[in-house]
């Protein structure tokens, strides 16, 4: 069994530099690598290109990096719920590449699985397809989309083991699995880090081969964006 455990978030982020392209898992604030984001803020690395489905909210998630103007470019599918983001984008300070959500996921997966590019129907006939090759298969039109390239992938899982195996909880899974192994180095932070052999090999969501470093996050706030409830009868 290959050990990938690092002691803390500082060690986990060794090698992160200005100008790098980072993938970050999560959907909204659900399943985001909280401890990693805090450390990126502390490190003060700048000029980053971040690939992440969303951009957090003003004071949490990737919003923290936006506040400090550490991000040069965001590649996302949905960036609402963030005033500072909107301000930086409209003023031209922040470069934004909006990508359909399924295409975003598949561009990560293509990088993970060694596919250079793929044809998807999403975005055909829209500005997303501008400048891209389009092609007909069986009477339907598709757009050629290329695999992402990234320096680091930062993902967050529920449980992990020393071999790098990951298990997610609920919808906190989202983009995390497809980003594993999609960058040169994949760093996983987990709520609970267990010895190898603690997880049933049948239940692993991401096999350890896709993860280079793993650590247990110090604390998880897990903020809820839209707290919706129903009354008890």
């Amino acid at each position: 069994m290959i050990r990938k455990t690092v002691e803390n978030v500082q060690e986990a982020l060794k090698g992160v530099k200005d100008g790098m392209t980072l993938m970050l898992g999560g959907f909204g604030l659900c399943g985001i690598p909280e401890n990693t984001i805090s450390e990126l803020v502390r490190l003060g690395v700048t000029d980053l290109c971040c690939i992440s489905n969303n951009a957090g909210v003003d004071d949490f998630g990737l919003g923290l990096l936006l506040q400090k103007k550490q991000i040069r470019k965001m590649i996302s599918s949905y960036v609402g719920e963030n005033d500072e983001f909107e301000r930086q984008m409209l003023s031209g300070e922040l470069e934004v590449e909006l990508t359909p959500q399924g295409t975003l996921a598949e561009k990560c997966r293509a990088a993970q699985a060694g596919f250079p590019a793929f044809y998807t129907p999403a975005g055909f006939g829209t500005e997303v397809a501008l400048g891209k090759e389009t092609r007909e298969f069986n009477g339907k039109m598709y757009v050629l989309e290329e695999a992402f390239k990234a320096d680091f992938s930062f993902v967050k899982a529920w449980k992990g083991d020393e071999a790098g195996n990951l298990i997610f909880k609920g919808t906190a899974r989202n983009f995390n699995p497809c980003m594993c192994g999609a960058a040169n180095i994949t760093v996983a932070e987990v709520e609970e880090l267990l010895p190898a052999g603690s997880l049933d090999p049948n239940d692993i969501h991401v096999p350890g081969i896709f993860v280079q470093r793993i650590f247990q996050g110090e604390k998880y706030e897990k903020r809820i964006e839209q707290r919706t409830v129903r009354p008890r009868n």
């Binding site: 909006l98 909880k169 989202n174 008890r232």
Partner: protein
């Protein structure tokens, strides 16, 4: 004339037994409240859940269990969680039977615009482009006109498109319409709404054949 609940209620009648349904944010989300109890339906949310249930009881919210609108939810027996790649395999692979989403504009050729107002509002397309590019069965839920009173059913969309020639049916506060090769075909009027009122509120080609029945809710 219908309110938003009324639109949701009318759309709920399009949901059939055994359907997997993806509901967009806004009016579409409300459709779930009106689906008949005696049919089996599963709701998919593109962030990674199939078999969504109602909102949790207060105090039982789980930050790790949300829908695509980032709302806390619950799951029904038989539910499953999965990653974004699998979620869009369901969508792109046409395994979802019905997609209900909102729109800013729809053209009489079935084009839809709902993700961007240049220079003003750029929230992003989220999963909408994947949904409209793949779904066989798309219903748009929206008000017939915008706040300025201008028709949202147009000859051509003026806003950046989300998808081309994909909308099949539209349910508004005024009417139910089908998108045909000849334009919007009026199927039903909302209670108390005249054909003339619908004509006046529709900018794209409108087909009116015979008596147009009032919708039943």
């Amino acid at each position: 004339m219908l309110d938003k609940n009324g639109i949701a209620k009318r759309i709920a009648k399009e949901v059939k037994d055994g359907y997997y349904v993806n509901l967009g944010i806004g009016i579409p989300t409300m459709v779930a409240n009106f689906v008949r109890d005696d049919i089996s339906v599963e709701f998919q949310s593109e962030n990674g859940v199939l078999g969504m249930g109602p909102f949790p009881f207060e105090g039982e919210e789980d930050a790790d269990i949300i829908n695509a609108g980032k709302q806390t939810i619950t799951t029904m027996p038989g539910a499953s969680f999965f990653d974004s790649v699998t979620s869009f395999a369901m969508i792109r692979g046409q395994h979802v039977d019905l997609t209900i989403l909102g729109a800013m504009e729809v053209s009489d050729k079935g084009d839809i615009a709902n993700w961007k107002i240049p220079g003003k509002m750029v929230k992003g397309m989220g999963g909408a482009m994947d949904l409209v590019a793949s779904a066989e069965n798309i219903i748009v839920a929206m008000m017939h006109t915008n706040r300025a009173g201008e028709s949202k059913l147009l000859k051509e969309c003026t806003l950046p498109l989300t998808g081309v020639g994909c909308v099949k049916k539209i349910v508004t506060n005024l009417a139910v319409l089908e998108v045909t090769t000849d334009g919007f075909k009026l199927l039903e009027r909302a209670p108390g709404v005249s054909v003339e009122a619908i004509e006046n509120a529709t900018n794209g080609r409108l087909i009116i054949e015979g008596d147009i029945p009032e919708m039943k809710l």
